[in-house]
């Protein structure tokens, strides 16, 4: 799962941001973009590249919820649970998706097929309930669209 050339990947990516000040977040985003997640083994590599301590990098990786310390599911469903979507009935959608996908919120299904995650606001607050399905926005979620999502993530 962890690419064996992780050190060259991190080295190459760090080179891209070497001119930037405070380059740690851009680097972690780039690592997650390319590797799919931020393995613990990437922390010492990032620390050495940006001349930070491992503790500093670890503190940042564990602070921001975007950075995954385990691989995500093959598909990722991010469901918005903020107030505007609650006002438009996301509670029922959450229950339906959890049941149909067989995985609770903020977990990855045992078989690694799908990750079901909460997100607080996608900025589509007039057309909720909303979700990002593999980074594609879907609005006005209803039973029909739940079916389509379940089908899509089962592939």
């Amino acid at each position: 799962m962890i690419p064996d050339d992780l050190d060259t990947i991190v080295g190459r990516l760090a080179e891209r941001f070497s001119a930037q000040r405070g380059a740690l977040l851009p680097l972690l985003h780039a690592i997650q973009e390319e590797v799919g997640w931020v393995p613990d083994a990437a922390t010492p590599l990032g620390a050495r590249a940006l001349n930070l301590s491992r503790a500093e990098v670890h503190g940042v990786v564990t602070f921001y919820h975007d950075f995954r310390r385990e691989p995500a599911g093959r598909h990722v469903v991010k469901l918005c649970l903020a107030e505007a979507c609650k006002a438009r009935g996301v509670g029922a959608i959450e229950a339906a998706l959890a049941d149909r996908l067989g995985v609770g919120i903020d977990k990855t299904r045992a078989d690694g097929q799908v990750s079901f995650e909460a997100v607080y606001c996608l900025g589509l607050c007039a057309t909720g309930p909303n979700a990002l399905v593999d980074d594609r926005p879907v609005s006005r979620l209803d039973a029909r669209k739940v079916d389509r999502i379940v089908a899509q993530v089962s592939a």
Binding site: Q20, R21, G22, A23, L24, L25, P26, L28, H29, L50, L52, E56, G59, V60, F63, Y64, H65, D66, F67, A82, E83, A84, C85, K86, A87, R88, V119, Y120, C121, L122, G123, L124, C125, A126, T127, G128, N130, L132, D135, P137, V138, S139, R140
Partner: protein, 522 residues
Amino acid sequence: MTRAYISCDMASVALGADDIAEALTAAGCTVIRTGARGLFAIEPLVEIETTDGARIAYGPVEPEDVPAILDDTHPNRIGDLATLPFFAKQQRFTFARCGITDPLSMADYTAHDGWKGLAAARALPPQAVVDAVKASGLRGRGGAGFPTGIKWQTVLDAASPEKFIVCNADEGDSGTFADRMLMEGDPYCLLEGMAIAGHAVGASHGYIYVRSEYPFAIRALNAAIERAGPILAPFTVEVRVGAGAYVCGEETALLESIEGKRGQVRAKPPLPAIQGLFGQPTVINNVLSLAAIPFILAEGPERYAEVGFSRSRGTMPVQLAGNVKNGGLFEIGFGITLGELVNDIGGGTESGRPVRAVQVGGPLGAYFPPSMFDLAFDYEAFAAAGGLIGHAGITVFDDTVDMAAMARFAMEFCAVESCGKCTPCRIGSTRGVETLDRIIGDRIKGAAQREQALEAMPQMRNAKVKHRSVDEEIGVLRDLCETMKFGSLCALGGFTPYPVLSALDHFPEDFGGARALPQAAE
């Protein structure tokens, strides 16, 4: 070739705009993607350009409706959008171009008064630009409402070889999307505002800190920066992407995040204007504050200041969200009442059920019952009523809402997003959820006799053993709110009590206990 305009805004795409664009292209039209007009009830929306240059709007439409659109027989024909009351009543100073122009077309932008503000600013000495911003009466649109001109003056006066302009685009409040719409629909406007700020205070570099939940906005900004580079020069801008931390909307946590650190809130002083990003004097303003600047410099501060209400000058892009019929963006001068916004413009709930509560100002804003809908939309008026305007998001709830559950969610949201630095918020938010669980638990299961094992032990003779009634639990909750409100280091812990106390005060019936007297949530 028929020219068809359709939005590439994230909300429009989520509603199927791309499929329609494809269908139009297949039907031989020249399709121009624009920002969103800002009324989502009529999306997906298409506008067809007539021979004399006018645009006829049709919405909502489906891909298979293209033939009906092209031969002007579609049942949802709206005609000239400007005639719709939702648009006619607006005063679009900041959002004038949004939905009309192609967001990345430099030609479109220039044709619609683009860069006029920058040219005007660059013709003036820095102090004159700052004076113009002061004269406009512009106040921080992020929520604090701090006079933008005074903030710029502080940075201009700070002597330093290096200064920064930082745009806070971490729009994490539920019910707000104005920043997103502007960044996707009219990115050059924001860049122009930042360049003017750079000229005004002597900063040569700017950062836009965009939350990672806005992928469309990030792409649009990066493309715009690349194209506008020459005209912005010597001012340079770069986008920095957040990583899932609402607290990074707080200005000092945002700076820590750009510096590559944990998004922990800094103690003040020093103020960022004096010692901000990388320790240098820094202007931090919200997207809307910076986007309002080009208009002020192009049209003159007076045009901006003449609109407004008492000390809140200029327009505020209000966002109607949640269970609302006409959800969308409504830019209007301050002073309009909450009721006009929710009922007249918003059209009440989409579910058709009566409006029971509205939350103004995102997850840290207070809940208002209809009885308070005469409140004028103004920073001071809302503060006096125990609430806040925040980023001007209004989330509408119908009568199915459970206000105790919403109060619990306010604490839960704070617990999930707390940076963990200060005690009232780090521990208080979790204890708040637990206390509300007990209140809601008692309400449903009745006041079960709950004896805690540890507290019952003789060694714990000081600890209260007997179960606390709902009113006593509510008393603990109010004390906790006071500790969080006055003890917390920043607004996350400090304002979480607004939704909780307003729910308690205005909707006591949802919490069980004797009807709590509405106390002014001081």
